[in-house]
């Protein structure tokens, strides 16, 4: 966990003070609605269906127990007793009153937290791999680079008024668990043949209205140049990104319109002026930032614990949990554990204040007082002794957070949707719930195997539906809620954008549609090793279409034909 130094703290405190002033100018009527909007967005406040919503940054997902307790306190004191963890490693509160917002920000600053740049047309919270620093397959620990980028992006004088929002993700493992190819900039920390650290830089990925996979514009950027190269990309975008049309303002459109090669050339030309300048990173700074991260005091332990292995052999429930929710750790005798926030009947990613306190207590007891928020909207305790797994499992079960579904169908990624979000076309939470209810048999879920199902309530794609193996998108059909279904999306190194199956469905139909897709998959797979997405890639989406809509000649039957336009 990175610890602020006095300058870091001071900047956050000054921001609270600044926002207090802006809020009182607005409430006094000397700052206009639209101008204040831009300013409050940069402090994470935007007006949702019910009240201003506050989005708090959890930089690259790292959270300490005392911070989670503070979030619980905020939920109780200023909200309605709960919060919602998002797909961008943030937490949102849905019921904060505007006049209270400065006090909420001040209480965040007390625990080295903030809502800076969590909304608005600026560089947003940097996201990363929830297993950063502990994953056995990791080549470079991305955390120090994430923090260096956090500081670089915080109040960057030149890039605080970009054409549109800007999201950066960093990964340090060959297996990309940070979805870097669907970010404005995706950074993969790598090593070259000489063992030197550097970055493979991709730009122009993103979801939303125009889903695109990013393009690598530099295969190996030596680490010293990280910030000057970022400056070059952002400057090209700031000057040339479109500002005339909100829907064409993301960097992905600029990259697409110019072509990745031309864009890369423009960046290199800009960088030629900046490279080796004073913003070039130095080893002392990397060391200094690294030293401000607390390091868990790992014990020397045996890699396996006979009691735990015996329990896995004898207890099916424990075995399933270990298989799905327990993850390997680079240190012998340790494991990372996912606490599931995907209990059926609870909106995915929601946690009550009491749950937050209890999770904080688990983190203190089992994982050095730290945890990570994942982009799949779960919580990871990253440093658990294997011999404590049984005790943690018992506690997690008592909390209803031991659902062994990580990577499985019911670990649904889902945005707040029409229940909370003013932009929604349709509700998403009840759809997630209906699917979870349909697939509630664990043996069946394990048999179906690894699959990502993602739901967004509108084209803004906060639920990342384009990169779900199955993606569900809420659409509006003459004031009614309908849902488009797509298959074949994926995140990770082989990222792809899903393809729409056809006309949209009503909410009640969705569990059946998912069932049909799963049935076809089970019939078609070579073995259980072939995952849903592998089958889609092998046989294409046509058979899935046919299964769901029937053969082409049946297509116009029933009421569905008339919905065709809504789905296109």
């Amino acid at each position: 966990m990175y610890q602020y130094d006095p300058i870091d703290q001071n900047l956050v405190d000054e921001r609270v003070h600044q926002f207090r002033g802006q809020t009182s100018r607005y409430l006094a009527g000397t700052l206009g609605e639209d101008e204040f909007r831009q300013l409050r967005l940069r402090n994470g406040l935007y007006v949702q269906r019910h009240a201003p919503m506050l989005r708090v940054a959890i930089p690259y997902g790292m959270l300490a127990s005392r911070q989670l307790r503070q979030l619980a306190l905020i939920a109780r004191r200023w909200d309605r007793g709960y919060g919602h963890f998002t797909t961008r490693q943030n937490i949102q509160f849905n019921w904060i009153a505007l006049k209270d917002a400065p006090d909420v920000l001040a209480s965040l600053a007390e625990v080295q937290m903030h809502a800076i740049q969590t909304s608005g047309n600026c560089v947003r919270n940097i996201t990363s791999d929830p297993f950063a620093g502990i994953a056995p397959d990791e080549v470079v620990d991305p955390l120090v680079w994430c923090e260096i980028l956090r500081q670089w992006s915080t109040f960057h004088p030149e890039f605080n008024w970009l054409p549109r929002k800007f999201k950066i993700a960093v990964s340090g493992s060959p297996e990309d668990r940070a979805a870097i190819l669907v970010h404005d900039i995706g950074i993969a920390a790598v090593r070259n043949g000489a063992g030197e650290t550097g970055f493979r830089v991709a730009v122009g990925g993103g979801l939303g209205r125009t889903p695109l996979v990013g393009h690598v514009i530099r295969e190996f950027l030596p680490w010293q140049h990280l910030l000057t190269y970022m400056d070059a990309i952002l400057r090209v975008y700031n000057l040339h990104g479109r500002r005339d049309n909100l829907y064409k303002a993301r960097i992905k459109i600029l990259v697409k319109e110019l072509g990745p090669e031309v864009f890369a050339r423009d960046v290199e030309a800009e960088w030629a002026h900046l490279r080796d300048g004073p913003a070039t990173l130095i080893q002392e700074e990397v060391d200094r930032v690294g030293a401000r991260f607390t390091q868990p005091a790992y014990e020397t332990l045996a890699a396996t614990m006979p009691e735990i292995e015996a329990l896995i052999a004898s207890d099916k429930g424990f075995a399933a949990w270990c298989r799905r929710n327990v993850h390997p750790h680079r240190v012998a005798g340790y494991a990372a554990v996912t606490l599931s926030l995907k209990k059926t009947g609870v909106p995915p990613g929601d946690a009550t204040a009491d749950e937050m306190d209890r999770i904080a207590a688990l983190a203190d007891r089992f994982s050095f007082g730290e945890m990570r928020i994942t982009h799949e909207q779960n919580i990871v305790l990253a440093d658990v002794r294997r011999r404590d797994l049984k005790a943690l499992w018992d506690e997690a079960k008592a909390l209803g957070m031991a659902t062994p579904n990580v990577g499985l169908l019911t670990n649904i990624i889902c945005c707040p949707g029409g229940d909370f979000c003013a932009l929604a076309n349709a509700r998403s939470i009840p759809v997630a719930e209906a699917i979870q209810r349909r697939f509630d048999d664990l043996d069946y879920l394990l048999d179906i195997g690894e699959i990502d199902l993602n739901i967004s309530g509108c084209i803004n794609a906060c639920g990342h539906h384009h990169v779900g193996h199955i993606g569900v998108l809420g659409v509006d059909k003459q004031g009614e809620e309908f849902y488009q279904v797509q298959v074949g999306g994926a995140q990770g190194t082989a990222a792809s954008i899903g393809k729409v199956l056809g006309p949209a469905f009503s909410q009640e139909e969705i569990p059946d549609v998912v069932q049909q897709l799963i049935d076809l998959y089970i019939e078609q797979r070579d073995s259980d090793a072939e995952r849903f997405i592998d089958v889609v890639r092998r046989i294409g989406i046509e058979p899935f279409k046919e299964r769901v809509y029937g053969k082409a000649d049946k297509k116009s039957q029933g009421g569905r034909g008339q919905l065709e336009t809504a789905a296109s």
Partner: protein, 170 residues
């Protein structure tokens, strides 16, 4: 006379900002900030009309600061306009003019600007500001003190925080 903020003080503005369709005749009255398009189309005439007097030019967000590099020494003022609130191209234009092209004269920001943008624009190299009419300029000066430090390089501070920390042994 209109007022503006220059070097963190509220002062009278003796310059006239000419509209996009201005003519050389208008510019001849002296101390005029002419639009870039006029400068490009009538450069010789403007130089002749100014004689030994002072010249200013203004750019829009979409204009390329590189277009006036060869003439920067002629200008007492280069101004950049934010035509819409939140148009951040002005920030990059300022840095380019100062850092890349070495412009030393007054660099003025004008248009749809609020006090909340002053400090960042100053860090991008601007030293003069014409804010929206709704802003009280004396009150606005407080915005320069809102943040005591910054991580990045700026016009005032060519070293990023990490190099300054190291030099100070922190």
């Amino acid at each position: 006379m209109a007022k503006l903020i220059r070097n963190r003080k509220v002062v009278e503005d003796s310059w006239r900002l000419l509209p996009p369709d201005a003519t050389v005749e208008q510019a001849a009255e002296g101390d005029s900030i002419v639009p870039l398009s006029l400068w490009k189309s009538s450069r010789e005439a403007l130089i002749a009309a100014a004689g030994s007097g002072r010249l200013g030019v203004w750019l829009d967000g979409a204009d390329e600061p590189g277009d006036i590099v060869a003439d920067l020494d002629r200008f007492t003022i280069v101004a950049v306009r934010a035509a819409k609130f939140g148009d951040g191209r002005i920030n990059s234009s300022g840095r380019l003019l100062r850092e890349r092209y070495g412009y030393k004269g007054e660099l003025r920001a004008f248009g749809e600007l609020l006090r909340d943008q002053l400090l960042m624009l100053e860090r991008c190299g601007f030293d003069a500001f014409v804010l929206r009419d709704s802003e009280n300029l004396e009150d606005a000066l407080a915005a320069f003190g809102e943040f005591s430090d910054q991580y990045q390089v700026s016009a005032q501070e060519p070293q990023p925080l990490f190099r300054r920390r190291l030099a100070a042994g922190r």
